[in-house]
């Protein structure tokens, strides 16, 4: 595998990798999206085969890095919850008004089992449509949010 993958963008908006057997549409996939997002990115083609591996995003030349980052940004969707503002009921299903790093949203929690503890302070919450919300640090939420959340933990 070449040291720096040759990347470009097609008119259809796809990321294209130059390979030995011609250009290939690829998508970047993080190997550890939560534990170590900046390292270990695989470029996978439409058949699901890995075409190239990027050890560390920072090592890429700037234009390529930007392409990969853009593509990642448009694919990855794990809003981080910053605050819980309101909860419709403590019994599930329950609608939560939350503030995220991507703006405010109303998520529907189907059951308590959709809250997954990743570590002592990190939580992953799946809403009824399969969107994953992250709480990176429980202890950094404000008191009100923590109190609401506590009822579900």
């Amino acid at each position: 595998m070449s040291a720096t993958p040759q990347l470009s963008r097609s008119p259809f908006g796809h990321l294209v990798l130059a390979t030995a057997d011609g250009p290939r549409e690829v998508v970047p996939v993080r190997a550890f999206p939560i534990a170590e997002p900046e390292r270990g990115i695989s470029l996978v083609d439409g058949d699901g085969h890995e075409r190239a591996w990027i050890d560390c995003l920072a090592d890429l030349p700037a234009p390529h890095r930007q392409l990969v980052e853009e593509e990642l940004a448009s694919r990855e969707f794990v809003p981080e919850i910053r605050a819980l503002k309101e909860i419709s009921s403590f019994a599930t299903p329950s609608t939560w008004q939350v503030d995220t790093d991507r703006g405010p949203f109303a998520l529907v929690l189907k059951g308590e089992e959709d809250i997954r503890r990743l570590s002592q302070t990190m939580l992953m919450i799946a809403d009824s449509n399969g969107i994953q919300f992250l709480i990176r640090d429980l202890s950094r939420l404000d008191r009100g949010s923590r109190k609401l959340l506590d009822r579900f933990l």
Binding site: P93, F105, L153
Partner: protein, 764 residues
């Protein structure tokens, strides 16, 4: 071009006012809005609002953040692509040159997006061809496939299940189950009334006992034995009456509630079994089990115990209040005054405890989860010598549990002393006021005694009454979860005008079949005709949709587009059970039920004779290994057949399929998980099975399919090639590549298969 098309019959949920004004000013004369989608994400996936509209002439869009509207007139080559990934849906407008625009939304809007997509395609086709848009077909919910009322956007069942929190009103729906027991319930209520009244007699009798016997005695009068006997026998009589009535009431109501519980459980389970695989696919086993097991029990206990107690308490308080007021209104007011305060305080403390107890429940689940994780995986734990780590994990979960319990116990231990204290204070007030009243000659000692006897009774009941709030909530949540199951209609419905198949020939035809799991498209445009008695080999990468096709043929799911025909009849018009009785299915993971081997073989035909069972086992090459087991055909296979090897289980499931003598046989990777030696055994068994039946065989090892008349290669949900092995090899296409890849990887296996395998014959 026809521009004055009528909009199709489905009235849309009306466009939000904020958009309406902006849009309408942009429409040309005669142009109407056909469908619209409000998007909630921008291109960097930040939450923001935008709108995409399909009109009769073009696609209009207001991208989030952009201040302007964009528009694309319908023209050849224009296409709208739809994908979804990780909860985000994407619509991309492309033409031959490249991407024109893309829009993102959270998957909650997917149903609307799919409607927009359809409207776009219809309008585009109509604009290009000049033909009017065809009338809309019946709409189905894309999630559960229940038919939707015209004009309804979202399936009411799915929405309610995911969005509506349980309400106490749900409990009233239980009336459907209580109705058959109306008579008993009424009797129970009357008995409750009577027995409560009986318990109120003794405190009343303390009054004359005090005033007419004890006080006069203290003042120097002799005791009137006759009077005493009268009062005491009154007391005894009341006690006996209360006992008898209480017993009858509890017994009748317990009987009724057990019956309601039974009806609820069996009805729910029977309904659950009728639901399609689609429903089970989206649920967790444990969850369904608790719903039918413990939730019904919780409702039951609520009905028979809590509700009853509560009704009794309310009755008692009401009756007591009436009695107290009739004896002395002022004293009654003073007595009842602290009541709301005490009730409120108890409620507060309870509320705090409730959240604590809920937490304990959850932590407790964590403790059991560690066990459920480790015990079935004990081989792995031991193999990697991780006993210490697992023990530490368990200890930690317990520590959590302990810490939480310690915290709750602090509040809890305070609770009953507090209730007692509040009761005492209430009594104190009554004492004080009573003594003052006696000193003024307003009331007698007997009246005060009676009052004290009454109130100490119902103050203590306040505690149990306050519990009703939380148990009601819990029961309501349970009832909702039960009704979620009961309200679900099977997505594989029984036909209204069933067509009965006489002798099935086994011809299967798929016409333009498309299918989605939920909103995700898995197969598209599959056309395939399978002749009676033909053997088809289905090949393709894993995930290419082979099992999905089988699921559609078996009618575990109904197609989203197109139709499946058996002997020329749409499978949707044949009764489900009747249709399935013609299909023998062998899966990769054979499932054995707890029971004997013979029971397992005869699962599809419980009245099979011993001879039939043995013949099937012989044909499946299972007979000999079964005889080697300690109890032969009577050997018990443990849960899921733990005591047997993979190949043995597989052969039992083949015998099971063989016994029902199906016209159509489906083998879904039936030999993938066994070694080549066992595979050869199974292969021999299969050769018996295949003869004279329409067969669809899916195999990972292509060598397994050498007997197939035709091979069908699938890729990404589509049929890409059909033909015999030699034809497809000559084509050097998809199949050729699959074959080459396997030949490279497993050349040893290729050697094996190129040898002619003698097939031993067995009488089936």
């Amino acid at each position: 071009m026809t521009t004055s098309l009528l909009s199709p019959g489905t009235p849309e949920k009306s466009l939000p006012d904020s958009w309406r004004g902006e849009i309408e000013s942009r429409l040309a004369a005669g142009e109407t809005i056909e469908s619209w989608l409000e998007i909630d994400l921008d291109s960097r996936l930040q939450f923001a609002r935008g709108l995409v509209v399909a009109t009769t002439r073009r696609l209009l869009a207001h991208a989030p953040g952009a201040g302007t509207w964009e528009s694309w007139d319908y023209r050849p080559g224009l296409a709208l692509d739809h994908r979804d990934h990780a909860g985000v849906g994407t619509l991309e407008l492309v033409d031959a040159q490249g991407r024109l625009a893309s829009w993102r939304y959270t998957l909650g809007h997917n149903v609307t997006a799919l409607k927009l997509l359809r409207a776009f395609e219809e309008q585009l086709a109509s604009a290009l061809s000049g033909q009017p848009v065809p009338l809309p077909e019946e709409m189905l919910c894309p999630k559960c496939k229940a038919p939707l009322e015209p004009g309804v956007e979202e399936c009411p069942i799915c929405t309610r299940e995911t969005q509506v929190p349980p309400s106490t009103w749900t409990l009233f729906r239980l009336w459907r189950f209580a109705k058959p027991y109306k008579g008993q319930l009424l009797a129970g209520f009357l008995l409750t009334l009577a027995s409560t009244a009986a318990t109120l007699v003794p405190p009343y009798l303390t009054m004359p006992l005090m005033d007419n016997v004890l006080i006069p005695f203290q003042n120097g009068k002799p005791i009137d034995v006759g009077l005493v006997t009268l009062y005491l026998s009154g007391l005894l009589g009341a006690a006996l009456l209360a006992w008898g009535l209480g017993w009858a009431r509890t017994y009748i109501l317990a009987l009724v509630s057990e019956r309601i519980g039974r009806d609820l459980r069996t009805t729910t389970y029977e309904h659950l079994l009728q639901l399609s695989l689609e429903y089970f696919g989206g649920k967790r086993t444990g969850d369904l089990m608790t719903r039918i097991g413990s939730e019904t029990d919780r409702i039951n206990v609520f009905l028979s115990l809590h509700l009853l107690d509560f009704a009794t308490d309310v009755l008692m308080i009401a009756l007591t209040a009436v009695i107290l007021f009739s004896i002395h209104p002022w004293l009654a007011v003073v007595t009842l005054l602290p009541l709301p305060v005490i009730a409120w305080m108890i409620h507060i403390v309870r509320d705090r405890l409730r959240t604590g107890f809920e937490k304990v429940d959850r932590i407790w689940a964590e403790v059991t989860n560690v066990l459920a994780d480790t015990i079935p995986g004990i081989r792995v734990v031991k193999a990697f010598a991780q006993e210490k780590r697992e023990a530490a994990r368990f200890r930690e979960a317990n520590l959590h549990n302990l810490a939480l319990n310690d915290r709750i116990n602090k509040t809890w231990s305070l609770f009953s002393p507090t209730v007692t204290l509040l009761t005492e204070i209430g009594l104190l007030v009554v004492w004080g006021f009573g003594i003052w009243q006696i000193s003024k000659g307003e009331i007698t000692v007997g009246v005060l005694t009676a009052f004290l006897a009454y109130i100490s009774r119902f103050y203590t009941r306040l505690d149990s009454m306050s519990r009703i709030v939380s148990v009601t909530q819990k029961a309501a949540a349970g009832a909702k979860r039960i009704f979620d199951i009961l309200d679900h209609v099977s997505s594989v419905p029984e036909p209204t005008n069933p067509v009965h198949l006489k002798a099935v020939r086994g011809e299967i035809e798929l016409k333009g079949v498309g299918f989605r799991y939920g909103t995700r498209a898995v197969t598209r445009d599959v056309d395939l005709l399978i002749h009676p008695g033909e053997m088809i080999g289905l090949v393709g990468h894993s995930g290419s949709g082979k099992s999905t096709l089988v699921n559609l043929i078996c009618r575990f799911y109904d197609v989203s587009e197109g139709a499946v025909f058996i002997d020329g009849v749409d499978v949707r018009s044949v009764p489900v059970a009747e249709f399935r009785s013609n299909i023998g299915l062998v899966l990769q993971e054979p499932f054995l039920f707890f029971g004997t081997i013979a029971d397992n073989i005869a699962y599809g035909k419980p009245d099979a004779t011993r001879e039939e069972i043995i013949a099937a086992a012989r044909a499946a090459h299972a007979h000999e290994f079964i005889l080697r087991l300690p109890h032969g055909y009577d050997s018990l296979v443990g849960e899921r057949g733990q005591g047997l090897s993979g190949g043995e289980r597989q052969r039992i499931s083949i015998a099971r399929a063989l016994l029902i003598n199906p016209k159509i046989l489906i083998l879904d990777e039936a030999t993938s998980s066994v070694d080549t030696e066992t595979e050869k055994e199974i292969q021999k068994a299969l050769d018996n099975l295949v003869r004279g039946r329409t067969t669809i065989a899916i195999a990972h090892r292509l060598s397994t399919l050498r007997k197939a008349h035709r091979l069908v290669a699938m890729d990404r949900g589509q049929v890409v090639e059909v033909g015999s092995h030699d034809e497809l090899m000559a084509k050097e296409g998809h199949y050729y590549r699959l074959y080459q890849a396997q030949a490279r990887n497993v050349d040893t296996e290729l050697e094996l298969t190129s040898l002619p395998t003698p097939v031993k014959e067995h009488a089936a």
